[in-house]
Symmetry: C2
């Protein structure tokens, strides 16, 4: 059915604009990258960028919800919270005030395979970020009364997530795509696991998991690598004394995707829908192809799904396609929110779009457009100094050797045939459709 | 009750860190600013910044929901949508594809007093952004079938907002703080006004409101001011032919704040609460003082409210204070989400914090901390080239003559007495408390 994104004329854009392209590459935006492994195993990567007054610092720890036992479900995230609650040298308020009082930000997040603590401040205040964050990671007190008040905070955070249709739909999707593996569980834990969580067990988990050899420190901006190494030496020493538990981790159950519809009925006005298929693992070289495919399908307002579902039919405010990748698994998703009575109609349009790509692939015009989009977005993204910190921290932790330039070259090399082959591999399977919102028991949905 | 943010020792932070402060000022981050008014009245401001490959462009139109009659409630936002739907030269897909195909972003938002269309792309593609956006603003077709499909999209957007507890609570607050003035209405309109909205009336509204003399074009990054002027000349000419309606706008009713509790019962897990007081207008010189006050109360994890409500008592995931300013009015708000049974306890703690500041003012330590925080955040914010575009566009449209350096100097000059005086002026009044979520009819809340 659907034609190319730019219809009618062959090069309408070129006729209307003056094209004045100079060649900017990823190298133009790269800084001076240095990487050192300290004696205790702490890996330090820094990228010194000129023309920024900011210092960005991140501690990437290789532990997330995936590694948790049933009793410790949510422990990685709980730890992320309680490590802000004070050390022998600094109270919780002093930790925040030391960074915020100079206009900086200090924050953290927990994912399924890693936890990250990060700060951004003026370079003139770099030393305090390194000192405070090292102190938190190695010397937190995790006092019982703080643990207990943070337990209530996390229960509030769970309630907040339950009021967010997108969060709930993504958790439902993960349960169906990754069950019964460790990737199926929500990062935050459950009301039951958080209520029952034992402070001493979390402290033990911290001592076992926050080890020098499983942490990457990444800095970017106005950075002095040698000074950073010097300042991190005590942390490296402290965390190198920690040892992984002698017993090997339990063998993890394999993911068994369970396609079909899964519904959580909630009293919202809209239905939130996430349609997913198994995707590609983090280091799979075909992710460059997947990037192109996802961009063509749902990478913005000119993408096929947006044009067909919103622009032509006005069925939803927005519809996106995206991919998520973990070390050994991934997912591709299409998501939107809509009035309940429009669900089947949108599913049918999505199905038509996918069937068209399955049968005919994408067009040469779409391929060129997607490559331009990925190149421009990547280069614009690298303008932010904090993006370098974040990318370097994650790629070093994940043993991903590819530079941005190599990734862009891989995208540039993608062919129409590559995209067609991958489309058939991923989208021939029956999807999971996770739906959250008002639901009539009699409602039937055909996934085509 | 509450002490200063940094407790116990007088300078704990200084003892733990090496302080190595050089003096960075707003001027260090400013670019080459140029401003021109074209013959038709279009104002053009550009800030050329070195060391960025990006071009940021925004069209700031001085029309928002405040100016709308009852029948046109939501027309400014509806216009923002339909101006993306095509011109004689470009279809909707071509508009999006022209910017997205080179990795750029093209988007827009509508506020109560202005509407903004903005793009960010690589400087090598600057020309196409100026061409496409000028075409949209002056020559959109707004075809009836596109208007009608966009009507459905906006109704979906209203439903999405109704599922967002924060959006609903803010709309309730505004109704109570600004009723019956034009600021009381939600920007998006109502289901009734959108369903009934007439395409021809919206086109007429567009022709009357999008005039050269009420639009500011702001560009930042890798900008060539003279080339920009040349490219904008046709837009200036086209929009200068448009004339404001001969009849003056209706006299707007004055805002009459109505304090006390207002509840919208919804089947969420948490209650969303927004407590508000009338604040300061946009150009009120006391906004520098208010900035300090809001920072001390709720500007982060070291702020009084966060420390008292979350750190010490674990009652909520987060609590913030903020201010909003319009041309002739403003509001100060404190907001949080919590389990329904904790509402009264949190209101009581907020009341205690405010009573303490009303009685004793803030501490010298808090004042210094807040100044450092505002300075650092402002300077870090200016590192983003798009922030310059956005700030320049808004300040020129609002006739705000202050530079960032002047604003920071005003903050630096704030005294303890200034803060105490303003606290008494703003917080002696009874607040409005807007609450959205599960609600038991018998529940009583005392605002102290």
């Amino acid at each position: 059915m659907t034609g190319p994104v730019i219809r009618g004329r062959s090069h309408p854009v070129r006729r209307f604009f003056t094209i004045n392209r100079t060649v900017l590459s990823a190298d133009d935006l790269a800084g001076d990258l240095r990487r050192t492994t300290l004696p205790g195993g702490l890996r330090v990567v820094s990228e010194s960028l000129s023309h920024t007054a900011a210092f960005n610092l991140g501690f990437f720890v290789g532990v997330g919800s995936r590694r948790e036992s049933r009793a410790l479900h949510g422990a990685s995230h709980m730890l992320e919270h309680v490590l802000f609650k004070g050390t022998p040298r600094l109270s919780a308020e002093e930790i925040s005030a030391s960074i915020e009082g100079v206009g900086g930000d200090l924050n953290a997040y927990t994912a399924k395979e890693h936890t990250c603590f990060y700060a951004r401040l003026l370079a003139e205040d770099a030393d305090r970020a390194v000192a405070v964050m090292s102190d938190m990671l190695a010397h937190s007190l995790i006092e019982p009364q703080h643990f207990s008040s943070e337990r209530t905070v996390v229960l509030e955070e769970i309630a907040m997530g339950n009021d967010d249709p997108g969060d709930v739909a993504h958790d439902l999707s993960a349960q169906r795509l990754y069950g019964p593996s460790g990737l199926a569980k929500p990062v935050i834990g459950s009301v039951e696991s958080i209520r029952a969580m034992d402070r001493d067990a979390v402290v033990e988990y911290w001592l076992a998991q926050y080890r020098a050899d499983d942490i990457v420190v990444s800095a970017s901006g106005a950075v002095d690598h040698d000074r950073l190494l010097e300042q991190l030496a005590p942390l490296d020493l402290a965390l190198s004394r920690r040892r992984a538990p002698a017993t090997a981790a339990d063998e993890e159950a394999a993911a068994v995707p369970e396609p079909g519809l899964v519904v959580q009925t909630r009293d919202f006005e809209q239905l939130e829908a996430v349609m997913s298929w198994p995707g590609l693992a983090l280091l799979d070289p075909r992710r460059a192809i997947l990037d192109v495919l996802v961009t063509v399908l749902g990478g913005g307002m000119s993408a096929r799904l947006f044009v067909e579902v919103r622009e032509k039919r006005g069925l939803t405010y927005s519809i996106d396609a995206s991919e998520i990748a973990y070390s050994d698994a991934g997912q591709v998703s299409i998501e939107w929110a809509c009035a309940p009575e429009r669900l089947q109609q949108i599913v049918d349009v999505v199905r038509e779009v996918l069937d068209d790509v399955l049968a005919h692939g994408i067009t040469a015009n779409e391929l060129a457009q997607a490559k331009g989009q990925i190149r421009g977005q990547t280069l614009l993204g690298l303008e932010s100094p904090s993006a370098h910190m974040s990318r370097n921290g994650r790629t070093v932790l994940q043993d991903d050797p590819r530079t941005v330039g190599e990734m862009l070259a891989a995208v540039e090399a993608v062919t129409l045939e590559d995209v067609h082959t991958l489309t058939r591999e991923l989208f021939s399977a029956e999807p999971t459709l996770a739906v959250v919102g008002p639901w009539d028991e009699d409602r039937q949905v055909s996934l085509g």
